[in-house]
């Protein structure tokens, strides 16, 4: 591998990592602030992708579709919180997993009824449908560069929002002590509902902007959920900063694992075992820091 290839591969890894961050941040936000393990998070990602596909068909405009999709996802989040999630705050994790697993089944069936089981593809919006020539025979899709920029902007907004706004303050207060925050006159139920809807929107938004490069298919939610959990666990449950660092780590390791050739004592480590690399990383980190890189000890 020459320097140019390594550089491009690093770019691939970072881009993949940023996308993972976007999905995982919603998951870690909901867990960190509300204490709810939401395994239906992947379903929202899938719903987002299917929404993008539908809206592109109905509206024909990617950007308008994106906006409508986020609004729909936000409302869906509010409704779900009202119907199911708010009863889970003082329940143990097993019950949370059971309820959200139920949601996976419901959404998977609804998806089958509404959209069918086919594979679909979403066209890249004309504005971003180009490639930049990097080497003599490799081009880099502009859409992927745009995707990375969007992820970075959202990460910054999220960080600023939580650290420097009044809402962010309420959120952090609620996270530290729910009862005390209530006593101070803050409607914590409303804050939680907002957070959950935000998490759902983040997942759906990720699904929507990934749709043009990942195609739209029934099992996509499950795939992304597993990697997101790896990211969240490595970064530390509930830590946005951790999710960012872990997502980039996972993205880079996954990328280089696939293309590196490494034999140790005649045993084919890469690429033979590349599929395991991110899980090996997770095991390694949990061995030394069971709470994750930026996780707090409980």
């Amino acid at each position: 591998m020459d320097a140019v290839t390594i550089f491009i591969q690093a770019m691939n890894g970072i881009q993949y990592g940023l996308l993972l961050f976007l999905v995982a941040s919603g998951l870690t936000l909901i867990f960190g602030i509300m204490g709810v393990i939401n395994i239906a998070h992947g379903s929202f990602y899938m719903i987002g992708a299917y929404l993008a596909w539908s809206f592109m068909g109905w509206i024909g405009n990617f950007w308008l579709g994106l906006f409508v999709g986020v609004v729909v996802a936000f409302v869906l989040g509010l409704v779900l919180e009202f119907l199911f999630i708010r009863f889970l705050y003082d329940k143990d994790h097993l019950q949370q997993v059971l309820v959200t697993y139920g949601l996976i089944l419901i959404f998977s069936e609804l998806r089958s009824v509404i959209w069918g089981d086919d594979v679909h593809s979403v066209a890249i919006p004309a504005l971003l449908d180009g490639s930049i020539q990097l080497t003599e025979n490799l081009a880099y899709p502009v859409y992927r560069i745009w995707l990375s920029s969007v992820c970075i902007v959202i990460a910054i907004l999220m960080f600023l929002g939580i650290q420097h706004t009044r809402l962010g303050m309420m959120i952090r207060a609620g996270e530290s002590d729910r009862e005390m925050t209530k006593a101070l006159g803050i409607n914590i139920g409303l804050v939680y509902r907002f957070i959950f809807a935000l998490g759902v929107s983040l997942a759906a938004f990720s699904g929507m902007i990934s749709a043009p490069i990942s195609s739209v298919f029934p099992g996509m939610g499950g795939q992304v959920l597993i990697v997101s959990f790896v990211v969240v666990v490595i970064g530390g449950l509930g830590s946005i900063k951790g999710a960012m660092v872990a997502a980039l780590l996972v993205g880079l390791i996954d990328t280089f694992g696939k293309v590196t050739t490494l034999h140790i004592f005649g045993v084919n480590i890469f690429p033979e075992m590349a599929g395991m690399s991110i899980f090996a990383l997770m095991a390694l980190i949990l061995m030394f820091r069971p709470q994750g890189i930026f996780g707090r000890e409980h």
């Binding site: 591998m1 020459d2 290839t5 491009i8 591969q9 691939n12 890894g13 881009q15 993949y16 139920g102 996976i104 089944l105 998977s108 069936e109 089958s112 089981d117 086919d118 594979v119 679909h120 593809s121 066209a123 490639s131 020539q133 080497t135 025979n137 490799l138 081009a139 880099y140 899709p141 859409y143 992927r144 490069i213 990942s214 195609s215 298919f217 029934p218 099992g219 996509m220 499950g222 795939q223 959920l225 996954d254 990328t255 280089f256 696939k258 293309v259 690429p271 033979e272 590349a274 599929g275």
Partner: protein, 393 residues
């Protein structure tokens, strides 16, 4: 992750209801009906394939009329969910509880292997309408197990020869890291090297991951003459689109087993233009049998037939041979097996026969994507037979 608990419960209760109904109504009537069991995926990623197979199969059986040999045909279904861990249970349900004469199943190779193990104990007749695991008609082959689709060894074997003929001697092979992908790779390598080609690198993506950017960067750096690959379904759509978006399409031609473009061409759009694949069927085959089949399928189900429907249809044709030989009494197992072994199937894919290991000896076609259609440009291999390594039949 599979859809299980609720569905399992529902399936369980309905099965219970069905069982009690059968024991009342079915008493003493068993010889008056031909009992056909479908063990196919009706939910999950492969649901569509399961349905196409069942549709194709039933279309073939229409040839027999309503009461063939004075009997009625009873259908039993089990949704195997493409879940290998439930394969043994599901196979037992349909073979032992429903006591069917023949089982049509299934799509997923892992499930098929579980099913075959059960069939070896029960001795039930099995016709596999899709699952490609080499072992099914190799190390695990059995007198009562037949296949009407392909072995994983078959579709990528002729590919190497085509590529060398096109002047590509150095190639990279890309696939998912799982059973079918590795079997496809092994057979590609065999065929390609025999034709004088060299596989300079094998690249894998964990199944069913679809993040290909790293792999594509590596391909650009390696600069092979051509790329060969094995992908299907959603992964095939994404791979083909990413390959084009990375700008590789114009400089390094893409080849693959036919599943790369089969049934997903619409979703791939322009990115698929010019891809060359090899498969035992193509929509555009111009033989009279195929034209008639496609017309009949369209009329019956208001949709276009695909390779899975053809495999199901041929499973039906194969069963008809057995029924004709035994006058509809499949309990004469030796006779039924004999008829199926000697069967010459006049299929929409062209005529084929059974190998000693019960896998089709069939033509493989060279298919090129041209203006959004899989068009046949030639026959890549006449009468290709799986080597059936480890089968003593």
């Amino acid at each position: 992750m599979s859809i299980s608990n609720r569905r399992q419960f529902l399936a369980g209760t309905s099965a219970l209801a069905g069982l009690s109904f059968l024991s009342l109504a079915g008493c003493g009537k068993t010889t008056d009906s031909i009992r056909v069991g479908f063990m196919l995926p009706y939910t999950g990623t492969y649901a569509k394939l399961g349905m196409a197979i069942e549709n194709g199969f039933k279309l073939a059986l229409r040839e027999l009329g309503d009461n063939p040999f004075g009997k009625s045909i009873e259908f039993f279904t089990v949704d195997d969910e493409s879940n290998p861990s439930k394969a043994t249970d599901n196979a037992n349900k349909i073979m032992t509880r429903d006591n069917v004469d023949v089982v049509i199943g299934t799509v997923h190779s892992g499930v098929a292997m579980g099913m075959i193990k059960v069939a070896q104990e029960t001795g039930s007749l099995v016709i596999i309408p899709n699952a490609g695991a080499n072992a099914a008609t190799g190390t695990m082959c059995a007198p009562n197990v037949f296949r009407t689709s392909f072995s994983n060894w078959q579709p990528t074997h002729p590919l190497g020869r085509i590529m060398v003929e096109d002047g590509h001697k150095k190639s990279v092979f890309i696939t998912w890291k799982y059973g079918a992908g590795e079997e496809a790779l092994a057979s590609f390598r065999e065929g390609f090297e025999a034709a004088g080609g060299e596989v300079i690198k094998e690249l894998f993506v964990p199944f069913p991951n679809v993040e290909f950017q790293a792999i594509l960067t590596e391909v650009a750096a390696l600069k092979p003459d051509a790329v060969a690959c094995f992908f299907a379904g959603g992964g095939a759509v994404k791979f083909v689109k990413d390959y084009a978006a990375a700008g590789l399409k114009s400089s390094i031609p893409l080849y693959g087993s036919g599943f790369l473009t089969e049934g997903v061409l619409d979703a791939q759009g322009d990115a698929a233009e010019g891809i060359t694949t090899t498969l035992h069927y193509a929509d555009g085959l111009q033989n009279p049998k195929n034209l008639a089949f496609r017309e009949a399928y369209r009329l019956a189900y208001s949709e276009e037939a695909d390779v899975y429907a053809v495999q199901g249809y041929d499973a039906g044709l194969l069963l008809i041979k057995a029924l004709q030989e035994t006058s509809g009494d499949l309990s004469k197992k030796a006779q039924a097996i004999n008829a199926m072994e000697g069967a010459k199937i006049d299929s929409p894919r062209g005529p084929w026969t059974m190998s000693r290991a019960h896998n089709p000896i069939q033509n493989f076609y060279t298919v090129k994507v041209n203006n959004g259609v899989n068009s046949v440009v030639g026959t890549a291999w006449e009468g290709l037979e799986d080597p059936a390594v480890g089968c003593d039949l």
